[in-house]
Symmetry: C2
Subunit: 81 residues, 2 copies
């Protein structure tokens, strides 16, 4: 089983890295991009044969306690068999 965890800055937090990418895209003549925000992506490979409920709880705990800085970031995750 795999878990995809996406960590992004909260929308209220300024993202200078994203702004830099957006500026670069504009200068390089890519059209139509209004905004860019950068985040992190983690692919966790989990042991097989675990109960889905347990996996869910564990992934959520890892995302919340280790992968995310709760002051400025938020996370989303998706499980995949």
């Amino acid at each position: 089983m795999k878990a995809h965890v996406y960590v992004t800055l909260k929308t209220t937090v300024l993202d200078p890295q994203g702004k830099t990418i957006q500026g670069a895209l504009k200068k390089m003549n890519y059209k139509g991009v209004e905004d860019v925000r950068q985040g992190k992506y983690f692919l966790l490979t989990l042991e097989p044969n675990l109960e889905k409920d347990k996996v869910k709880a564990e992934v959520e705990r890892i995302a919340r306690e280790v992968l995310t800085n709760p002051v400025i970031e938020e996370f989303a995750y998706k499980l995949e068999d």
Copy 2:
């Protein structure tokens, strides 16, 4: 319209950052994680009222030419209205 772009190291490329996270999780007593790989996540906000085909082509071009280092990385993307 929004585009979610996920950039990851190719599976053949060693990911020391992911390995470090995996080691940390193990030491911190989180169970069941066999492997961790870290990637980047970009959220592009695109101008409204663009044709879906055009957006798709443009996002693909941006991901391929700007956001990804084709030597060691690969990308996936998802469009959302």
